[in-house]
């Protein structure tokens, strides 16, 4: 049981104030972001809609401390599928930033995590070249 008044109702406001988080309140919870997400397809726990709902409801700590925050590939499929222009991929970057600022993740860890994609792209080209 969570008591709503203990939830942080300034959280959504704070997210929406930052560049990239402006449209979070547009969300009507349709699920298109999650339906088309390549990470959700292979990782059942990863649920962009849930992250948006939690943010709107004010589950501040659950969101900022969650490992899922770092699973996103930043492919922006969610952005292109969203009918309400919520721009989840951008919201996620805001949330990552806040997670670092609020000490949920060490800056050093965050830097490492940020570099994952660079490594990924390099690996992809290596694998493709290997197959060809």
């Amino acid at each position: 049981m969570t008591e709503l008044n203990q939830l942080d109702n300034t959280f959504a406001e704070a997210v929406s104030k930052r560049p990239g988080g402006e449209n979070i309140r547009n969300c009507f919870s349709c699920g298109a972001c999650t339906a088309g997400c390549p990470i959700s397809a292979i990782r059942p726990g990863y649920n962009p809609r849930k992250i948006i709902r939690q943010t709107l409801l004010g589950f501040r700590m659950q969101v900022l401390a969650s490992r899922e925050l770092w699973h996103c590939l930043q492919c922006h499929a969610c952005v292109s599928h969203c009918p309400q222009d919520v721009r989840f991929a951008d919201i996620l970057r805001v949330l990552r930033q806040m997670a670092v600022e609020e000490g949920c993740v060490q800056p050093e860890t965050a830097r490492k995590l940020d570099m994952v994609n660079d490594e990924l792209y390099r690996r992809r080209i290596e694998i493709v070249e290997g197959i060809l």
């Binding site: 309140r25 599928h81 009918p83």
Partner: protein
């Protein structure tokens, strides 16, 4: 004669408005862009929630419209320019050449058979081809061909093939100036073209639009009603319907809700199961199920339970074709928040509605404001009136709406236009010249002299049935004084010849052996009338449908059958009697029960037309439920506008208001009612409008206390009085609706919640507002308020019916499914969206006027689709909340529609009863009352009378109310009831003729 009204658009909206105006004596110019009437509705296979065949219920309306002497239809025409102001508009109409003389064309179709050019059929959504000379669809009306000049190669073959000489390829376009008093815009909408790219439309053949699917399902459509995949022609085994393809999107398509798609998808899904019982899956992917209309939720339940339609709550992200299986994969999110994929053979995109391209710019020139999407702007209290006086709008050109709403709005627009039309007397209208009436000849003393006219219908009949042989055979039948044949019996020339022969040969009965009486009986009856014969002295033999069409491969048998049909018709018509049509006077007053916004609006419409209206209100004041409203759904204050409305009714010289009064007794029938009121007054009236409203139920079981747990109406009053100071507010939707006890949607509550949330946010932005909902039913432009409310920070949380929020003390507890969290919160105020329940007085009112109620106690209209404010009983109409839950704008629409329908009665000086009515042979009647029970029109009453000292019970049929349906005649055990025009003697003679062959 009144000054004509111009109606733009010949779909169901234009047709309804035209018929209402014409029936009230206003001439109409009906301008239609395509070659036929019917519009979007003609394209549909079935209609919800009755699953009636769309074309079948539309056809009688179209026929009525085309045949009405006060309606002039211009096909392939459009409005170029509108000058002047009401009631003196000048409209410039472009009439594009059809290339076919409509007077000569008989619609036989020989031209299309020889036309070498094939183009895609717009009517069939490009799923099949038509010729360059064509009729859009088989039942198209007017039943005339026209040439598509963009496709025509001028080969001239059609001209040679046309036996009627109707084709004129050099026909020029014409500009026509029309002087009109008012304009009704009824030109409908387009289906959205800009669909979400990810859904694969135009990319994959097996992703089709819902309108394409309608044509696929239609038995008269390109595939004969057999659904198949466009990629490989195989029948599908899994079908998916994808909602909001082009609606409720900021990024692609339209941000508003198209209102109709949820219901048509459920209909298409249900019909799919009926067509293909073996389908392994029929799934609908949706966000909110918006089945907000009357009986709609039950329809959705039946789709789920009876037709095994799957409902998956997810907007899909995208559709991808699986190259191996050939199926299309739909990506969605399941109830547990998992990204999933399901394969389907066919995906049907529920496309939305959008305004015609360029409508905004076009109407700007006439001063008519549209919204940013191009839909014509109207206000809640005057919902048919555009921003230009004398120009009205109805149907989907003014925003997405379904067929019943379109029909309602069309009648309402007609009520408005009627005022302008009645202001002017227009003489010399060349389009509406009344024909001279020929006095009827008394044939009762003459021996039967029957004339038989056999039609070749070009080669339509003549190519299969040996018409000369049938004619010769007819000449030999007893009592036949004359027989001949026509190439086209229905052509104008033939009609003249037929009348002349009736006179010169002194014929007193006529048989026409041609096509269906459904389409042509009125025409031939007209020819008889011109010869001074009573129209009931005609009989038709349908040798086209029943001989040449069904036996096209057996010409000899077809000819024999045609002879039999002719002999039967002759035997029947021999005993036909001239039927007199009873005329009754009409009282010009309308009685309006209920003094809410509906009642007042209806009364004002009638009073503005110069007739008297009597409003009877149960309470001590006018205004009804609207007196609670702080704001209308346009977010503007309501009370000032309501006061204006009430004052204009109170000060209107033609309106009498009785408050603290109710109807307690009523007698009479259409045109001549008498109602007694509880205040002792007796009102004589010609029409009755029931606008008795409904109530907001107090939901005690949800913890209602009127203090910090209140209803929406109480919230409205709180906002009005400026006493809203609560900071933590919950709005609890469906508190009493959509449950077991009240299995219907109260329709207004989602819109009201969003509206009130926005108003409270504008008063105190720091207020925290949470809306707990099951499906957000902010249909139409309400979706834009829903969007605004989210942006303003209002939190929307969905709950499941099985797991509703619970209130205890000053805290509320609910389950949030997307996060899987149980949440408990204290609150300052909970607003319960309680159910709208029917007026408890309804059963009494229903008995007074002999009209039916639904199970929930709302009034049940004659037909949910096409007669939304009528009853089977004539002269009684319903509007507003008495009909079903609806918002203020919708109530006013219905009120004005009811007024327009009432005007079709009270604008006349006399009413003509049907000639074909049931009659009781008093000596045979046993007074068992079986007939009284089966009569749908309440036309029969068993009366007691004293005969030779004993009480006798005898059925008495009111010929004014009788529709001649014959049900009573069948139910009568004594054989005491006979139908004029279908007398037992005639039927027996007909059967004997067949037996004697």
């Amino acid at each position: 004669m009144k000054k004509p009204v111009l109606i733009l658009g010949g779909g169901i909206a234009g047709i309804q408005a035209a018929c209402d105006l014409a029936q009230s004596g206003s001439p109409v110019f009906l301008v239609e862009k395509t070659p036929s009437l019917g519009g979007r509705m003609a394209q549909l296979d079935k209609t919800f929630p009755t699953n009636d065949c769309s074309a079948c219920i539309l056809a009688p309306k179209v026929t009525e419209c085309i045949n009405h002497p006060l309606i002039k239809v211009f096909i392939k025409s459009e409005l170029l320019e509108l000058k002047g102001e009401s009631p003196d508009f000048t409209a410039v109409i472009l009439r594009k050449a059809t290339g076919v003389d409509p007077v000569k064309c008989t619609g036989c179709g020989e031209c299309a058979k020889v036309c070498p050019v094939k183009v895609e059929s717009e009517f069939d959504e490009n799923l099949c081809e038509r010729r360059a000379i064509y009729k859009p669809y088989a039942q198209a009306a007017p039943n005339k061909f026209s040439i598509d000049r963009n496709a025509c190669i001028n080969c001239g073959r059609c001209e040679k093939a046309c036996a009627a000489g109707a084709i004129n390829r050099k026909m020029p376009d014409e500009r026509t100036l029309l002087e009109v008093s008012a304009v009704i815009i009824a030109n409908g909408c387009s289906v959205s073209k800009e669909l979400t790219y990810h859904f694969g439309h135009l990319k994959y053949k097996d992703v089709i639009t819902s309108i394409e699917y309608e044509r696929m399902l239609s038995a008269s459509g390109p595939f004969g009603g057999h659904v198949r995949r466009l990629s490989d022609g195989r029948a599908p085994s899994r079908i998916a319907f994808v909602q909001c393809s082009g609606s409720r999107s900021k990024c692609c398509g339209a941000p508003y809700c198209s209102s109709v798609c949820c219901m048509y998808a459920v209909k298409e899904a249900s019909i799919s199961r009926e067509h293909m019982p073996k389908l392994s899956a029929i799934d609908i992917f949706y966000m909110d199920m918006r089945s907000f209309g009357k009986e709609f939720d039950k329809y959705v339940d039946s789709a789920r339970d009876k037709y095994k339609v799957g409902f998956i709550r997810s907007r899909i992200s995208h559709i991808e074709r699986n190259e191996e299986s050939g199926q299309v994969d739909i990506h969605y999110i399941d109830g547990n928040g998992m990204a999933c994929v399901l394969p389907y053979d066919l995906a049907v995109l529920s496309v939305g509605l959008e305004a015609h391209a360029g409508s905004k710019e076009f109407w700007k020139k006439a001063g008519v404001k549209t919204d940013r999407f191009g839909f014509i702007h109207t206000s809640p209290f005057q919902p048919t009136q555009t921003t230009t006086h004398g120009i009205f709008a109805c149907g989907s050109c003014a925003g997405p709406c379904d067929i019943p709403e379109t029909v309602t709005q069309a009648s309402a627009a007609a009520a408005g236009a009627l005022v302008a039309s009645s202001m002017k007397d227009a003489q010399g209208q060349c389009y509406f010249e009344a024909e001279e009436e020929v006095p009827e000849r008394n044939t009762s003393k003459e021996a039967a002299r029957i004339g038989v006219f056999v039609c070749r219908c070009g080669s339509n009949i003549g190519g299969f049935v040996d018409v000369p042989a049938v004619t010769a055979y007819a000449r030999g039948i007893d009592k036949v004084a004359y027989a001949s044949e026509f190439v086209f019996a229905c052509s104008v020339d033939s009609q003249k010849v037929l009348s002349d022969i009736c006179v010169s040969k002194r014929l007193n009965r006529v048989v026409v052996a041609s096509c269906s009486p459904r389409t042509h009986e009125k025409l031939f009856q007209g020819a008889l009338q011109k010869a001074g014969l009573n129209p009931s002295l005609l009989a038709m033999a349908n040798i086209r449908d029943q001989c040449s069409w069904v036996h096209m491969n057996e010409p000899a048998s077809a000819t024999e059958k045609a002879k039999s049909l002719v002999k039967m018709a002759v035997s029947r018509v021999r005993f036909a009697k001239p039927l007199a049509r009873l005329k009754i006077g009409v009282n010009k007053t309308a009685l309006v029960l209920g003094g809410g916004v509906s009642g007042i609006s209806a009364a004002l419409s009638i009073a503005d037309l110069g007739h008297c209206a009597v409003i009877v209100e149960k309470s001590g004041r006018l205004g009804g439920n609207a007196a609670n409203l702080a704001h209308a759904h346009d977010l503007l204050p309501a009370q000032r506008r309501l006061d204006e409305l009430i004052l204009s009714a109170l000060h209107h010289p033609n309106i009498t208001v009785f408050t603290n009064a109710r109807a307690c007794a009523s007698s009479g029938y259409v045109g001549n009612f008498e109602t007694s009121l509880t205040n002792g007054k007796k009102i004589a009236h010609g029409a009755t409008i029931i606008a008795t409203g409904a109530n907001e139920r107090l939901p005690y079981e949800f913890g209602w206390n009127g203090l910090n747990v209140i209803t929406q109406a109480e919230l409205e009053r709180k906002i009005s009085s400026g006493s809203i100071a609560e900071k933590n507010i919950f709005m609890y939707q469906c508190a009493g609706s959509r449950g077991k006890e009240r299995p219907y949607c109260s329709r207004v509550c989602c819109g009201a919640a969003v509206k009130n949330a926005l108003i409270i946010k504008s008063i105190s932005p720091e207020a925290s507002i949470t809306v707990l909902y099951r499906d957000m039913r902010t249909y139409g432009s309400g979706e834009l308020n829903y969007q605004k409310a989210r942006e303003a920070g209002v939190l929307f949380i969905r709950y499941e019916a099985e797991n509703p929020p619970a209130i205890s003390g000053s805290s509320i507890r609910f389950y949030e499914s997307a996060t899987g969290a149980f949440i408990e919160s204290s609150f300052d105020l909970v607003v319960l969206a309680s159910a709208i329940t029917s007026n408890p007085d309804n059963s009494e009112t229903a008995q007074l006027y002999k009209v039916p109620l639904t199970r929930e106690g709302f009034f049940l209209e004659a037909h949910s689709k096409l007669r939304p404010v009528d009853f089977a009983v004539e002269g009684v109409y319903v509007c507003g909340l008495a009909h079903s839950p609806k918002n203020l704008k919708e109530s006013v629409w219905q009120a004005k529609a009811a007024a327009a329908r009432a005007m079709t009665v009270i604008s006349k000086n006399s009413l003509e009863a049907e000639g074909m009515v049931a009659r009781v042979n008093q000596s045979l009647c046993s007074g068992c009352a079986r007939c009284e029970r089966v009569c749908a029109y309440q036309a029969i009453e068993v009366k007691e009378e004293l005969r030779r000292g004993a009480i006798c019970r005898k059925a008495d049929i009111n010929p004014v109310l009788c529709k001649g349906c014959g049900t009573c005649s069948v139910a009568c055990l004594c054989g005491a009831i006979d139908i004029d025009g279908f007398a037992d003697r005639q039927i027996i003679a007909e059967v004997e003729a067949l037996a004697a062959l």
